[in-house]
């Protein structure tokens, strides 16, 4: 994938298969192409060469907006609509899909419950009345509203403080286990990647350097780049992996 007027391709020679239900984390430094790769999945970026397949079908065969309605999308800046209430934000995609009101309301309350925000207290709030962590929970609920089989998350927890980030990580891990949604998650945070991923996809300069489960990344880094990335703390990080994720909170 090469952007217009760019000398080098942002992402190239990527051959990656993500299994249904997998939690795949794209990890790498800024500018390595991880967000670009993520955005080719819902066609916010169109590859200049190559194809993206979901369930064996080329995403370019489908109408882009219709494709996106079936794929959850969460970004760092959250992007809740400020003039909508929490409930209306969560209801955006169901309404686009033409669900009736009763079904939309039920789904909104169900999702607020899933992300542990009391519907009675939060349904009618405006985004400006939410903390950063609450806003991102609503962002996740909005992305999951129409039961997408794939959820794309672009540095979703990078803008919140460490404590909130840890609890959001626990939440998304739990949601993943409960719903079995395929998640593709972009981060530059090594610890976050290792905590959450079934498989870490390490990227550098537009290429996939290694795609392997966290233990294998730590124990057998594919090259010096991966070794440096997981760093001298590799042993501590390996030990941290043995601690169960959800019982932390």
């Amino acid at each position: 994938m090469r952007y217009p007027n760019a000398a080098v391709a942002a992402v190239h020679d990527v051959d990656l298969t993500i299994a249904a239900g997998e939690f795949a984390v794209l990890l790498g430094p800024s500018g390595c192409g991880k967000s670009t790769l993520l955005r080719t999945i819902n066609r916010l970026v169109e590859p200049t060469a190559g194809t993206v397949l979901i369930d064996g079908a080329d995403v370019r065969e489908r109408d882009a907006t219709e494709l996106r309605r079936g794929i959850g999308y969460v970004i760092q800046a959250v992007g809740l609509f400020p003039h909508y209430t929490v409930a209306d934000n969560v209801a955006v995609v169901p309404r686009l899909l033409g669900w009736d009101d009763a079904r939309v309301q039920r789904r909104v309350d169900e999702l607020l419950g899933l992300i542990r925000l009391d519907p009675a207290r939060y349904r009618d709030r405006k985004p400006r009345e939410l903390s950063g962590g609450e806003a991102q929970r609503v962002g996740v609920a909005r992305a999951l509203a129409a039961q997408p089989r794939v959820l794309l998350m672009d540095e979703p927890f990078a803008a919140v403080d460490a404590i909130v980030r840890a609890s959001l990580q626990d939440e998304i891990a739990r949601v993943h286990r409960e719903l079995g949604t395929t998640i593709v998650f972009v981060t530059h945070d090594v610890d976050e990647a290792l905590r959450l991923a079934d498989r870490v996809v390490v990227m550098n300069a537009g290429r996939v350097v290694q795609a392997a489960p966290p233990e294998e990344i730590l124990e057998h880094p594919a090259d010096d780049f991966v070794r440096d990335l997981v760093g001298v703390d590799a042993e501590t990080r390996r030990l941290a992996l043995e601690r169960p994720l959800v019982e932390r909170s």
Binding site: L44, T65, R68
Partner: protein, 203 residues
């Protein structure tokens, strides 16, 4: 005050004409400025052209523009409305461009990512979020047009300018005062009501 007190009917009728001139001009101007503003907000090259042309039109002295338009369209209301529409363009387009460009790009990205079409993103997200700034432009345009519309009387388009021009030519300060006061009240009323609207649409 004497003229105002004894000629309330006439002043009232002229206020009605004035409001009509400004209201119609503002509505037509908005219909033109909205698409221009949307295009200019999305495309820097179009923005340079649109803002350059509307800015240049705005610098033409109002009497000169009216004189030119009279040569083309003759005397009367239509000519005055055309002139007011031309003047309002720059203010309205600038407000629309500033409003749309001020929308957080993350909002547009998330809207597109959720599966809103470009049109739905514009109508449901970008416009509502830009609305307070756009209304700020409408307010400045409305107040300017109330002032500019007084010149319309000079080309037989009616409005409160009639009192000003009659007052000057007949050396009647009472008429001038009545016209000036009524125009000032109109301008303040437009300003206050549109300010209230701006506050109401702020999220």
């Amino acid at each position: 005050m004497i003229y105002l007190a004894t000629h309330l009917d006439r002043v009232g009728a002229l206020i009605g004409q004035h409001v009509f001139l400004v209201g119609v001009s503002l509505a037509v101007a908005l219909l033109i400025a909205l698409p221009l503003g949307v295009v200019a907000a999305r495309n820097p090259r179009a923005a340079a052209v649109v803002l350059g042309v509307t800015g240049a039109l705005y610098t033409i002295p109002s009497l000169a523009l009216l004189a030119l338009l009279v040569a083309a369209l003759g005397l009367g209301q239509l000519t005055a409305i055309v002139a007011l529409v031309v003047y309002a363009q720059m203010i309205l387009v600038r407000g629309i461009v500033a409003g749309l460009q001020g929308v957080d790009p993350a909002l547009v990205d998330s809207a597109r990512g959720l599966g809103l079409t470009a049109r739905q993103t514009l109508l449901r997200v970008e416009f509502p979020v830009a609305l307070p700034v756009v209304l700020g432009g409408v307010r400045v345009a409305a107040v300017s047009l109330v002032a500019l519309a007084t010149v319309a009387a000079w080309i037989h388009a009616g409005g409160l300018g009639e009192l000003l021009f009659e007052g000057i030519s007949t050396d009647n300060p009472q008429k001038i005062f009545a016209g000036a006061l009524a125009a000032a009240v109109l301008a303040v009323a437009a300003d206050l009501s549109l300010r209230a609207a701006e506050r109401a649409v702020r999220t």
